[in-house]
Amino acid sequence: MPGITREEVAHLARLSRLELKSEELDHFAEQLNDIVDAVARVSEIAAEDVPPTSHPLPLTNVMRADEVRPSLSPDEVLAAAPAAEEQRFRVPQILGED
């Protein structure tokens, strides 16, 4: 397996929406390498014919009756928002200025 480089950590951080500091990149590269080396062992026994398990329970869709029930009020929901305006979450710009 290829080692995890400083550049790869920067890429993972970008995908993970983490604005890492420069010194964190080196530190995490070293630690993630150690961890990936250790966990790569799983491929030793993961044979072709073994089915994967994603969950301990045999899950099926759980449905309920489509009935109107009480829920939180807008004020209760927005009380914890970093910023709110006119009963909406106020967020930084999502689309560019142009």
């Binding site: 397996m1 995890i4 790869e8 950590v9 993972l12 951080a13 970008r14 995908l15 993970s16 929406r17 983490l18 604005e19 890492l20 500091k21 964190e24 995490f28 630690q31 993630l32 150690d34 961890i35 990936v36 250790a38 966990v39 790569a40 062992r41 799983v42 491929s43 030793e44 026994i45 993961a46 044979a47 073994v50 089915p51 994967p52 398990t53 994603s54 969950h55 301990p56 329970l57 899950l59 869709n61 759980v62 309920r64 939180l72 209760e76 929901v77 009380a79 914890a80 928002a81 970093p82 910023a83 979450f89 967020v91 930084p92 710009q93 999502i94 560019g96």
Partner: protein, 497 residues
């Protein structure tokens, strides 16, 4: 009722029901104890004095009105800060949620309130339950009441320490890879991971959804059983909640009899990396069970040695997805919103400021394991290992009623010793992880002190899914026999705080 803080939950509930003591007196005694010792222990992130006293007054009023009280009415409890509590701060040990007051109660919180349990406050934990020492809390570490310079385990170190420091007779934890059982083991208390799906995850802040499971922590096996019955059961709000009757765990704890049971000793757990004193107490427990009438069988589960690597791919993968919700838009921290930056930039700055190093490591590790090109080798292989581990358990439980092992390879290590060595830290969960991957039930019960450091050792008992009652039968039998041998519960040997 000389010493209210040292009573078991069962004794306390009986004394309140009979009118020997009021729920308010019991709550006040515990709040006083917290005031006296928690500066040293730091088990609590938030003490809800007003809420606790109000809940206690309500129990006293109901009793005065002639209402029949439940088996835990008026008993104080310490709640891991990963369950939402309406209007009461909930942080999951993270700066990301500092000051957040959830608008709703978790199902578990609601059930505790309905049972008349008095919630004293919220306990310290590794950030988002990621860790084995509680050192990853953004609010500072918790001390182990046996030796304050050592870790109380994690992630639920605050809950376990609160029990061992007599700040509460009951506590709630969550166990994703051992976060109830490992703190139980290193603090000399009882911790149970119920069968996956038996305690609702609604209102439990998610780390790894296919592994997370809430469960009871207590100083005695019977108290854990009483709490288990109060919190378990089907919940329509959690689609992974099992719609089946809760096993009769209280009756099993009272039965406390292992005669004729077949007990399997997991061959793979022991040897190199295991502390000598831990193995000594474990072997004595095996002989104790034999002397109590259990039949001992050695069982090999060869895939278990791959459980730790599989876990450290599956849990981070699920965490990288679950923690995407912390985007600085709807609740929690927001950093760097100066009117010029984009939403995406604000999200990245907030997550950098709000998450600690272990959470960042796991998010990136999960992102790596799930990325195209690596998915099959890492996440895909880990899911296959999960199948092999489940098959090992199925084979074993075809032959024995329960499996046993040490809960942890070592006793409590010093705070700071493994803080910046993730792989060394991860080894603390070596024996507990297989049960999370398979979704079955497991308990840690104290089995003595390691001779070399006089620190508690835990015995792990594992039962098949939905056979949680077997844990309590075996755990209570071990507890009774050891208390008999020692003349008192293990915790009485802990130094005074």
């Amino acid at each position: 009722m000389a010493d209210l803080i040292r009573c078991t939950a069962a004794e306390t509930a009986a004394a309140i029901a009979s009118g020997e003591v009021s729920a308010v007196e019991v709550a006040q005694a515990h709040l006083d104890r917290i005031n006296a010792v928690d500066e040293k222990v730091h088990a609590f992130l938030h003490v809800d004095t007003d809420g606790a006293l109000a809940a206690a007054r309500s129990v006293d009023a109901r009793r005065a009105a002639g209402e029949e009280l439940g088996p835990l009415a008026g008993v104080p409890l310490a709640l891991k800060d990963v369950f939402t509590t309406k209007g009461v701060p909930t942080t999951a040990g993270s700066k990301m949620l500092e000051g957040w007051r959830p608008p709703y109660d978790a199902t578990l919180t609601r059930r505790l309130k309905e049972a008349g349990v008095v919630i004293l406050g919220k306990t310290n934990m590794d950030e988002f339950a990621m860790g084995s020492s509680t050192e990853n809390s953004a609010y500072g570490p918790t001390g182990n009441p046996w030796d304050l310079s050592r870790i109380p385990g994690g992630s639920g170190g605050g809950s376990a320490a609160a029990l061992a420091a007599y700040e509460a007779p009951l506590a709630i934890g969550t166990d994703t890879g051992g976060s109830i059982r490992q703190p139980g083991a290193v603090t000399g208390t009882v911790g149970v991971k119920p069968t996956y799906g038996s305690v609702s995850r609604y209102g439990l802040i998610a780390f790894s959804s296919s592994l997370d499971q809430g469960g009871p922590c207590a100083r005695t096996v019977l108290d854990a059983a009483l709490l288990h019955e109060a919190i378990a059961g089907h919940d329509p709000m959690d689609s992974t909640s099992i719609d089946a009757p809760v096993p009769a765990v209280v009756a099993a704890a009272r039965q406390a009899d292992v005669k004729g049971m077949r007990v399997g000793v997991v061959k793979e757990f022991g040897g190199e990396g295991y502390q000598a004193g831990v193995m000594q107490r474990f072997h004595e427990s095996v002989e104790l069970l034999r002397s109590l009438g259990a039949e001992i069988v050695e069982i090999s589960c060869p895939s278990f040695t791959y459980a730790l690597p599989a876990y450290y791919l599956i849990a981070p993968s699920e965490c990288s997805s679950n923690l995407a919700r912390f985007d600085a838009m709807r609740y929690g921290l927001r950093v760097g919103d100066n009117g010029a930056r984009s939403a995406e930039e604000v999200t990245a700055l907030t997550r950098e400021a709000g998450f600690g190093p272990e959470v960042k490591r796991r998010i990136m590790l999960g992102t790596y394991a799930l990325s195209s090109g690596y998915y099959d080798a890492y996440y895909g292989s880990a899911q296959k290992v999960r199948t092999l581990i489940t098959r090992d358990f199925d084979r074993a439980f075809g032959d024995v009623d329960v499996l046993i092992s040490p809960t942890t390879p070592t006793t409590a290590f010093p705070i700071g010793e493994r803080a910046d060595d993730p792989m060394a830290m991860y080894l603390a969960d070596l024996c507990t992880i297989p049960s999370n991957l398979a979704g079955n039930a497991a308990m840690s019960v104290p089995c003595g002190l390691a001779p070399e450091d006089n620190l508690p050792v835990g015995l792990q008992i594992i039962a098949p899914a939905l056979a949680d009652d077997r844990l309590y039968r075996v755990g209570a039998a071990v507890e009774a026999a050891l208390n008999d041998k020692w003349g008192h519960p293990l915790l009485e040997e802990a130094p005074a705080l």
